[in-house]
Symmetry: none
Subunit: 189 residues, 4 copies
DNA sequence: AATGAATGAGAATTCATTCAT
DNA sequence: TATGAATGAATTCTCATTCAT
């Protein structure tokens, strides 16, 4: 693998395991198998490295959420796919879930960068919501609000479970989760 | 005011504004109007100070959520009160919302402390959910799951809004919010 | 007891137990049952307190060495008394032995103060040595050298034993000790 | 010279001159001609540096005592060599004598480390004493007691002289010293 | 290009001393 | 007179960043 990516991966692992403030460049270098100076060939500052880590995380996150998405399927099926992808990804790759928690409060991650990290996902999801509203399927509330609410619900559920383990995964079936998510956005007459 | 509380308040402000890692004891001292050594009369370590900050935050958070709660009212009315309290509190006191974000990933905040911080709120909310389920009002899914989901939805909504300001508050009415929340937990035949 | 003496005693205990650098004024105050500020009524600085501690130690040391000394007895009997007093005192009051170790390297204890601390003891011992030499009993070497050598031997013996306990006290009888001491100073034809 | 040794040497000088507690890492750095952080590349803590300083001192001390020792010579000649080596070393290298005084009460120097520091010297001296006793030359008292007594006598003599200078060196000839030392351990019929 | 030793600014913490009460 | 809260200089130690090799 490229050294550039090797460094990013090492940083992901260490931040997820130890937290951002307990991850000095020197330990990244050790984990990546290179000298500390080498890291500065690829990233001008630690902040820039963190930004790269964030973008790499959001890429994985995005493609995990969109995996096996059938863009010709119904709105309901597409959202089901995305939500379950999200749910399973954060359950099965806690490293990335922890990483996201850490980075979401890091001063290095600006609002602009966050926007950029989410752009691709939004570009896919927004049209689905739009169509859903056209079909009279979802509430007359801005897409962002509904989408973010559901994302926040799912991710918070799993974060809570990580802190007090083993409650959610054994109890919450895929059907239950979808029932909650749809309840939140579905339009009722 | 007591110096003890003065220090806690100064710390709240600084962490909310600059983040936990950008809040050294020296700056807390300056903000609190005392010498750095003075802080160590009241808190043995910085970690202990952070713990006190967290507990003070959770107290405010809890009493804000339970404000004007009529414990004799219906399940629906009580949850409406709590959710709107939560929503308005986090919108109107962004300092505490930001603080909560920072502290939720702080190594100083152990799982046990988190449990303690949430205890009072849970002790009030859990019985409401229990009654709601007995009345056939809410889904047959553990209270924790539903409660955490809604909390996660609301708080994430507002966090997103803080990063890309002015979208939510002007658009999301109280009624919209409650419609989303109830949709997530309400049982439909 | 006088507060002045109470403070000195507390300091003795704490330095012997924890060492000089691990004995802050605040802990002396706690041990002496008074406020930290009170100590500064009796001693202008910590250094001055240490000096007082040293002098109080040397007083106890001196009177312990001279206990039951029969100034009309023979040179041999008098030195035997002093040496055994010294030996038993340092064995039975390890607090003072430890204290002496700590203070002997403290910057607060000047050469002049050391001289003052030892003055009374020297004033008694020197004439005995002088008489011993007149009687042809001891080597033609300055009193200081002989006296200090024997003192150094005994105190080092006990310090070593304190570090690697239980070797000396069970083995070295009073007769053995005197045989060593006298051997060191006694004149042989 | 190696930076590692440079730091140790600087520390030796400073502790001997100012005492252990008046030797902060910052001053060691200045004396060693490097940044404070550099010291922590070579020693994990200040305590570890002090330990290294102690071991380096004991190495010099040991080789000084054993210099020109003829292991085929008689017991008397060997002990004479060692005692005079010790005496001259501590007189001519007061820096190391002062250093030893400081370190002997340092909390950083554990009993185990002291044992390790003295091991080589003991390994050489003990057999000489054993042989001396077999030859009926020395008292029937444990080697440790006799050896430590003499060591304590010599070192205390020189310490006293350092505090009230110029008394001993001009007066105490090598012969006098040996007469005292042998007197202390020699068996008389 | 890669390294890792060196740097020094900045962090948490301690403690002798002061002073208002 | 006695107190102990308050102070801030000084200490140990960390770590992002640089640069000679």
């Amino acid at each position: 693998m490229e050294k550039h990516q090797l460094i990013i991966d090492a940083t992901c692992d260490l931040i997820a395991e130890n937290g951002l403030q307990a991850t000095p460049i020197s330990s990244v270098a050790k984990e990546a198998g290179c000298g500390a100076g080498t890291i500065y060939r690829y990233f001008e500052t630690k902040e820039e490295l963190i930004e790269a880590v964030y973008l790499s995380l959001m890429e994985r996150f995005t493609s995990a959420c969109l995996e096996n998405l059938d863009r010709t399927a119904s709105v309901r099926e597409q959202l089901n796919t995305i939500w379950l992808n999200l749910y399973h990804y954060m359950r099965e790759v806690p490293r990335d879930a922890l990483l996201l928690d850490q980075l979401s409060v890091a001063p290095a991650i600006s609002a602009a960068l966050q926007e950029r990290g989410k752009r691709d996902l939004k570009a896919t999801i927004d049209p689905i919501f739009t169509r859903g509203r056209q079909e009279g399927l979802i509430k007359d509330i801005p897409d962002d609000v509904l989408g973010v609410f559901v994302y926040g619900g799912i991710s918070t559920l799993l974060r809570t479970d990580r802190n007090a383990p083993c409650v959610v995964p054994t109890v919450v079936t895929d059907d239950m989760l979808l029932s909650i998510c749809w309840g939140a956005i579905e339009k009722r007459d």
